[in-house]
Amino acid sequence: MITVDVRKRLGSFSLDAVFAAPSAGVIAVFGRSGAGKTTVINLIAGILAPDSGRISVGDTVFDDTAARVSVPPERRRVGFVFQDSRLFPHLSVEGNLRFGLTRAPAADRPLGFGPVVDVLGVGHLLGRRPQTLSAGERQRIALGRALLAQPRLLLMDEPLAALDGPRKAEILPYIERLRDQFGLPIIYVSHSLDEVVRLADHLVVVSDGRVAACGPMGDILSRLDLQPLLGRFEAGAVVDCVVAAHDDRYRLSTLVFDGGQLRVPIVERPVGEAVRVRLRARDVALALSEPTDVSITNRLPGTVAGLAVRDGMFVDVAVRLGGTTIRALISQESQDRLGLRIGLPVWALVKTVALDNRSLGWLRRTGAV
């Protein structure tokens, strides 16, 4: 377990963070800018010291102000990937990658130089200077450098925030690969729900210096009360699926989940692999009977499980499909017209084209499905 129970004042900002998360998989610390996400991760790394409280990872105590324990950052064995890479300008790429490696105990170096360089695909960059790399390459080297320091926990502070769209898409698969291949717990700070949904298993929602919620990804995202924090247009549900079939003629794939199936633009993953889909609430429409004369392919029968008004004009509807709950954002007018109430059977409609690859993430084969 990773347990955090700390207080920290920084000028006019005060953080009071309490949460516990399993030390496995990806734990996302999510919140808006200024919510205190970076403060949390800096406290875990030891870059900041808590005013009071306790931080522990597994059976190692990092900080405990009551017992006057404070492990310096260099002995915490946490790899840190910063938003701005922070590569050493006076060292070559290889010198950067080896910086932490040579400082790790010789008897405890499970991650070899070769394998990490291969996974990140940076072999051809080793002799270069950091200044000559693209932003995406720099961030890959930063990932490798943190990994090679042989950490027990990897911390990432908005590692994609400094990159533009295409570069983000270039780096995400590398993060997924190291999550799946090296089995290190990762704490991933982000204000982007897209990234978080694609990568994380566990979600810690931070707001105004407090932890608003903490739990498994699916549970948190389907909670209606957290929607103001997650944002109206970000609102949605996460559905864990398995690839069932590919249709090469129409370039579509069929995904099955506990509660139905989805046709989505072709997924470059083998049949049987776990895939996670984010259904944004604004992309889901509702009908009282199955409409067959519409272009919408995904028509899923279910029942209304919850209703919450948003901004005075929208209604956030939770719809239960078998063992899965998804969300639909409709206008209040539509709610009145359809007479929606809890328990009413409805059809959830999702356009195939609404599910672009920003809504799809890959899970390891032994995933949660």
Partner: protein, 228 residues
Amino acid sequence: MPSHAEITAFTLSLEVAAAATLVSLPLAVAIAWLLARGTFWGRQALDAVVHAPLVLPPVVIGYLLLLTFGVRGPVGSWLDRVLGIRFVFTTAGAALAAGVMSFPLMVRAIRLSIDAVDGGLEWAARTLGASRADVFRSVTLPLMLPGIVSGAIVAFAASLGEFGATITFASNIEGETRTLPLAIYSAIQSPDGDRVALRLVLLSFALAVGALWLAEVADRRVRRMLGR
């Protein structure tokens, strides 16, 4: 052709400036570090003391050195008794005077380079397993190198030109403390020293041009090392 005495003044100047620069460099790095990063009581006072040679007349510094490091001074008498080192009328004394006078220039250049080091890189190094001392050696110091080089160059140049404190403290003794500026001064004082003074001025020029060229080379090397 320059006479033997003129050549001696030339080599002595180099020797004094090199000694002053090399000996004060580690101390300047330490003081600059304390001034840039330290949070201790008396930092302002230290800052003032370090900068005193910049604002006080050189003669005053020379006199203060005489009071402290003279054979009867508190430090000077101890050094003489215990280690057998004398500063008055010696090349070491000339180097001490030059080092003290150029010290603030050196500290300022190095301090600026410390301020320019990105603290984020140092924290990154800590998370990669480097202790504070290790971070200083492997990250901070290399990144400070441009400032250290330019501090050394400025101090070396200032030491070559040091006059007031040297003549007050170490006196004007041929082969011991008579550096180029002092030799030029002596030549001007003598009835027909114009030709000698002129030759010494040319030597000064040669020294300055040579030193500037070396400085340029060093600076370029350091920048290439840092990839700038």
